[in-house]
């Protein structure tokens, strides 16, 4: 009892433990702040450095001309164009099947096992490294199907890669469409497909858009899967031609200029462009996702 009465909440404990504990707490706090600082500084450094280096080399000429040994010019117009073509091809093919798969899973599928299997397969696809996609794409589309290296083979490879991304966000927004909408339409005698087309899908647009933005980000930043499918070509082609002509996107061109041709200036110019595009896509995706939540 005597001991109890001396225990006090304000008298400092001078056992040495209190001091060690205080130090430990400060160290733990410092570690947390330090780590977050490291993460943010990495990004700030990248932004600063790429802006500084890249802006020295970005010129109108670089953006609007193509590389030619004969004329001795360097330009990244073909790569800009190829990237846009690739986005177009990939999205045109990937959107319907990804949305279709999501619709199947949320609106039609009754077999739990099949749904699980499809979701497992999608998860597996997300985890497979780009370079493996590149190998399989090369085997499947250029060797087996006989396509020439070009944006079609590259696009088909990327379709497999990005399908799970669009599928997932679409699935999520389909799940958030209230069942009452479906019942309302079905009760009016609309068929299942008609219900989906007129009531369900229009209410899931946000998810589809967000998934598409994420997918475009992935297409823009992809390189390893494209090396042996879309190729390294730096020459400007028309759309149809480019489908089966070796065509480097911005990322592949960055790699070629930096590591094979020693043109680091051009590489930095491309890196800056890629960073800006990533930045814009990120903002768009965050905006889309916040709308999705509502």
């Amino acid at each position: 009892m005597a001991e109890m009465m001396t225990s006090s909440v304000s008298t400092p404990d001078d056992s040495g433990f209190a001091f060690r504990r205080k130090v430990k707490n400060h160290v733990m706090k410092a570690v947390l702040y330090g780590s977050a600082t490291v993460t943010v500084s990495l990004l700030l450094f990248l932004i600063g450095y790429l802006t500084y280096k890249g802006s020295q080399y970005i010129t109108i000429e670089l953006l609007t001309s193509q590389t030619s040994y004969i004329k001795g010019t360097i330009g990244i117009l073909p790569n800009l164009v190829n990237t846009l073509y690739l986005i177009f091809i990939t999205m045109v093919l990937a959107l319907p099947i990804s949305i279709g798969a999501a619709v199947y899973l949320t609106e039609y599928a009754t077999n739990r096992k099949l749904v699980k299997l499809v979701e497992f397969a999608a998860g597996t696809l997300v985890g497979i490294p780009s370079i493996v996609f590149g190998l399989v794409g090369m085997l499947l589309f250029t060797q087996l199907m006989g396509l020439q290296q070009g944006l079609l083979a590259g696009g088909l490879t990327l379709v497999i890669m990005i399908m799970p991304t669009i599928m997932r966000t679409t699935q999520e927004s389909l799940k958030s469409v209230p069942n009452a909408y479906r019942e309302g339409a079905l009760a009016l005698g609309a068929g299942k497909w008609r219900t989906i087309r007129t009531v369900v899908l229009p209410n899931a647009v946000n998810g589809i858009v967000t998934g598409s933005i994420l997918a475009v980000g992935r297409i823009v930043s992809e390189s390893a899967a494209l090396l042996f499918t879309a190729g390294f070509g730096l020459v400007l082609h028309g759309f149809i031609q480019s489908l089966e002509a070796s065509s480097a996107t911005l990322t592949v061109a960055l790699y070629v200029y930096a590591s094979e041709r020693g043109e680091t200036g051009v590489a930095f110019a491309i890196a800056l462009i890629l960073m800006i595009v990533t930045f814009i896509l990120n903002i768009a995706a965050t905006y889309g996702a916040s709308k999705l939540k509502k």
Partner: protein, 253 residues
Amino acid sequence: MDTKTIIDVEKLNLWYGDHHALKDISMKIPANRITALIGPSGCGKSTFLRTINRMNDLVEGVKITGSIRYKGEDIYAPNVDVNNVRKNIGMVFQKANLFPMSIFDNIAYGPRTHGITNKAKLNEIVERSLKDAAIWDEVKDRLKDNALGFSGGQQQRLCIARTLAVQPDIVLMDESTSALDPISTGKIEDLCTRLKEKYTVIMVTHNMQQAVRISDYCAFFLLGDLVEFGTGEQIFSNPQNPKTEAYVTGRFG
């Protein structure tokens, strides 16, 4: 009323933002007794309980005036070590919240936090705390088992043991039996009655029978006011305030 006062509350006011949740509460809580806080939900009884070990500090936008003296010291004074307050004034929550680790590690968590690393000493504390919480016989062979594998009632008694392990003076209980079946509740009530030899127990309960059964003192809260405070007998058989009477006879709440 020849008992010592352990908690002396004076003109305590508490606001959550603009909401005035506790209004001018003053009371003297006696040591080594069970004090029950009763009242309809939202009356401030839980909020009041949480001011006694400063758990309300965790809530953002909370403002407190007045004083709470623990053995004469204001626990809201600037030089007070809040961790020390919570070491001396332990708390058992509504739902059992054992950590996802073994029973031993759960009970030893508090002592380790306060610097005890000696294995023999820890063993001793764990055994003593489990015995004090009357659960030693049930778990003594399973100390290494994950604590989350036990029944709700057992988990709640383990939570009490964990609280006792830091050797508090006061045990606060926030509706600690409300999620339990009658048998488990009975065990914990027996336990509380035994605990008051060594500890002071302050409990929030919405179960009037429970308050009648085990409380020595009782405080009735309504809309943030302390309406009446007295011995259990006084509150339940001879309430001075008509509101108290209305509540304890079951006319509202």
